[in-house]
Symmetry: C2
DNA sequence: GCTATTTTAGACCAAATGTACTAAATTTTT
DNA sequence: AAAAATTTAGTACATTTGGTCTAAAATAGC
């Protein structure tokens, strides 16, 4: 019996992606669905609630991806798969990334959750890098915090490559996703050892 | 006699920075200035015209900076000064960067100009890197396009560090600007030669 | 079948926004 | 000083939006 609720989320999701969060009103979503706006309000009191529900979908997709992509012995391969999958999810919900600042500004609760998740992601990268160093794939730091800064760059790139692509890229979605997943991997390249670079080349030839 | 026009730009600039472009209407700017909204419209027909005028200010500030910061023999030092100055300008007009995707979407002409300017910036970085390689400050590429990708990362970071800071940073403006200017420089670090890294350390100790 | 609950629609309101039109006030030009 | 231009304000209108209230329709539970 929640067919309506699901349809609302689908339509909101689509319109947000097409027109941006700010340009889509409750009434517009309702009109697109050909239901009354009061009906929509019955299910979601505000646009914020819609965004929160869609954010929940993003999290669930991310958790599902995390379970699928088992980080195997080859760190770079796992990173590559996880990045491609993660970037695909972000692209599917691109309105969220493009309006990220706006959404975080409007919704303190979501903002807080987002910061927590980023913290976890950061620690994950930290672990991954430490393992890669142990395995001789990445070099040691030249100065303290060097990898902490790399992780910051990873975060900013991950958060905003979609916004950048909205301005600079005209290719089809899959190409854009692959290009930027590759670009993220390139951030790691200069830190790789000879052994690491070899693994990197093997990986690229395989895909 | 263009006092009004200037006051309008100042107030629009301030309100855009404080509340974001979407949340500031012609009428709100007029109300803040305590002039009639029709008077404001007389000077600027639409919000787009206001944004274009402010963008022109950004360009003029950037040109002025370019003339001041002479790229001396020390490539890293020039880069550091230019980055700090440029990032300060971007921060002064942070509404433009935070609403970048929105603005580019709404104004095809501005979008086109923006792409042209980015092209010039890209070539500037390319020249700078080539010189740094000749001077033995940066290493040769390990694979083709390696530095082209670095420049892409520089572009994305430059475009969106302010958006990132709006979400993650709570420090005062000057600290945020310096931190991110430093982060941009860090993108170069792993490509530096031993000689380049030495120059980099000298530079950081000086500032 | 009847009742209670959930879902849906319609009417209405107040605020904000862009826009157009008119006219007054001010400044500039002659 | 008079005429022409510019700048400024006031009014009014249509649209959009979020929001409330009421009631009808559909569904579920008994």
């Amino acid at each position: 019996m929640k067919k309506t609720k699901e349809k609302i989320l689908l339509t909101a999701h689509r319109l947000f992606n097409e027109q941006g969060v700010a340009a889509v009103s409750i009434r517009k979503i309702a009109a697109t669905l050909e239901i009354s706006h009061t009906n929509l309000i019955y299910h979601f009191k505000t646009k914020q609630e819609l965004i929160e529900a869609l954010h929940q979908q993003i999290l669930e997709a991310a958790i599902k991806l995390n379970q699928e992509v088992r980080m195997g012995p080859n760190m770079l391969e796992g990173l590559w798969e996880a990045t491609k999958g993660g970037f695909r999810i972000l692209y599917d919900y691109r309105f969220f990334m493009i309006d990220l600042v706006y959404i975080m500004k409007e919704n303190k609760q979501l903002h807080h959750r987002f910061l927590e998740i980023e913290q976890i992601r950061s620690e994950m990268y930290q672990d991954m890098i430490n393992k890669a160093i142990q395995q001789g794939l990445m070099r040691d730091v030249y100065y303290p915090d060097e990898y902490q800064q790399l992780i910051t760059h990873i975060r900013i790139f991950s958060d905003f490559w979609i916004s950048s692509a909205a301005i600079y890229s005209s290719e089809d979605p899959q190409t854009v996703i692959d290009q930027h997943a590759k670009l993220l991997l390139d951030l790691f390249f200069p830190y790789l050892t000879v052994k690491g670079r070899k693994a990197y080349r093997v990986l690229l030839e395989a895909s």
